[in-house]
């Protein structure tokens, strides 16, 4: 009946030149099936566009899907812009082709969760749900 409860809202975004979105779509679909409301950005979004979408859609999480190897500069730019705009209530995740040696650097940038390719979907889902509960 009454269905106006708070839902987990998450933006799955494809920044930059990256033209591969099969993985992003699989994740989006899985999160939907786990009961979340997922906004998919489509390809080739600039950082300021991604932030605009996150603001207008009032999402709780921003998930970046990056396969190009440029995950560090892109994530850094996003984190800087978020700070600049005073946005503190949206947690950022990064997924895609992420070598394990880059994980500490991403964490240092303030990323809330990192899901390298091959991470079981269930793990991603559980992680997001646990973070949402704390929020």
């Amino acid at each position: 009946m009454a269905d106006d409860k708070k839902r987990i809202k998450i933006l799955i975004a494809k920044p930059g030149l990256d033209g591969h979105d099969r993985g992003a779509k699989v994740v989006a679909q899985a999160l939907k099936e786990a009961g979340m409301e997922v906004i998919y950005s489509g390809l080739h979004k600039r950082i300021d566009q991604i932030i605009n979408i996150a603001i207008q859609e009032d999402v709780d999480f921003i998930g970046l899907s990056i396969m190009t190897g440029a995950h560090i500069p892109i994530t850094q730019k996003l984190m800087n812009k978020l700070k600049e705009k005073g946005i503190t209530d949206k947690m950022v995740f990064v997924g895609g082709v992420i070598p394990s040696m880059d994980i500490p650097k991403l964490k240092e940038l303030g990323v809330g969760g990192i899901f390298p390719g091959g991470t079981p979907l269930q793990e991603t889902i559980e992680f997001i749900k646990s973070k949402a509960q704390k929020a």
Binding site: A2, E37, I39, Y40, I55, E57, D58
Partner: protein, 311 residues
């Protein structure tokens, strides 16, 4: 209130937050709406409906680009279905609104249909108030394209655009559901596909022109290439003029608002009654009797209603 002031100043984050609060049915959200209300009522509200994949988002994208060039401030509410199984939703309309998304002053909000008490109209109405407070003068609602929702959406809109494609033959259901009747403007999109002219004729033949003094235009379009968009813009302008001329005091809106008010009231009463009565023994007893096939449904409802609301 701080939130209201920010929205009236054009702060998108505050507007987005308030829409979420309405989606969540929060009291403070409704209070904020009451404060915003005096600043609303002037925008042209346009609904766009049609079968999945018919090109609604693409049309909105092109409309928003052109209207922005004309100096209008555009708000877009894109509704997608909620999965019945998981309660989740994949909101993908923005993907086809790439052009509009880049324009400053265009605010796009996706909304999952959920199973709103009071129907999708309740959350949509809230979002409309907020977008008007944000200063939008044209607000376009993309709807999921099925049954009851469409009828509800049309009651919050001034003008409804119904989109068909040349292969609409599969959409007999839509016609049965009254989709043609609610359209003030009909667009045959993807007219690059064969059969567009025939489709236009066929659909036009289903319009009951005698019952209306507004001549519903049937417009051929190829939204992807931007063709037909100017004609849709002209038709929107004409329809707004028609409404103003024939309803100098906004009578058509009064009628729709009255309908909405009773729709929302019905749901609110239901929610309140259930909260109060669902666990009481008198009602439980009647439910038990129904479950055990001791009494028929009509008698049960009559008894239960008599307890909840005695004469």
């Amino acid at each position: 209130m701080e939130l209201i002031k920010k929205i009236l100043d054009g702060n998108e984050a505050s507007a987005a937050r308030l829409i979420s609060m309405i989606e969540e049915g929060r009291e403070e959200g409704y209070r904020a709406i009451a404060a915003l209300f005096p600043h609303t009522g002037k925008a042209h509200i346009v609904g766009i409906t049609g079968a999945p994949g018919s090109g609604k988002s693409t049309i909105i994208d092109k409309l928003a680009i052109k209207f922005s060039e004309m100096g209008k401030k555009i708000g877009i509410i894109a509704i997608d279905p909620t999965s019945i199984k998981s309660n989740g939703a994949l909101l993908g309309d923005r993907v086809r609104m790439r052009g509009a998304e880049r324009i400053e002053g265009v605010f796009i909000r996706s909304m999952a249909h959920r199973g709103y008490p009071g129907g999708i109209a309740k959350a949509t109405m809230g979002a409309l108030y907020v977008l008007e407070g944000l200063g939008k003068d044209l607000i376009i609602i993309e709807s999921v394209g099925v049954g009851q929702t469409e009828l509800q959406i049309s009651s919050v809109c001034d003008t409804v655009i119904t989109v068909f494609t040349p292969d609409y033959g599969d959409d007999v259901q839509l016609m049965k559901a009254g989709i043609i009747e609610i359209g003030d403007i009909i667009v045959i999109n993807k007219s690059d596909m064969p059969g567009a002219e025939e489709a236009a004729k066929d659909i036009a033949s289903h319009i009951n022109y005698e019952k209306k003094d507004w001549q519903v235009p049937v417009i051929l379009a190829q939204a992807q290439r931007g063709e037909g968009i100017d004609r849709i813009i002209d038709a929107l302008g004409s329809h707004l003029e028609y409404l103003k001329k024939n309803n100098p005091k906004g009578e058509y809106r009064a009628q729709k608002l009255r309908k909405l008010m009773f729709l929302f009231l019905k749901e609110e009463l239901w929610v309140r009654a259930m909260k109060k009565w669902i666990d009481r023994n008198e009602i439980k007893g009647i439910v038990d009797m129904v479950e055990n096939r001791e009494i028929d449904i009509y008698s049960a409802v009559s008894q239960a209603a008599g307890i909840i609301l005695p004469d």
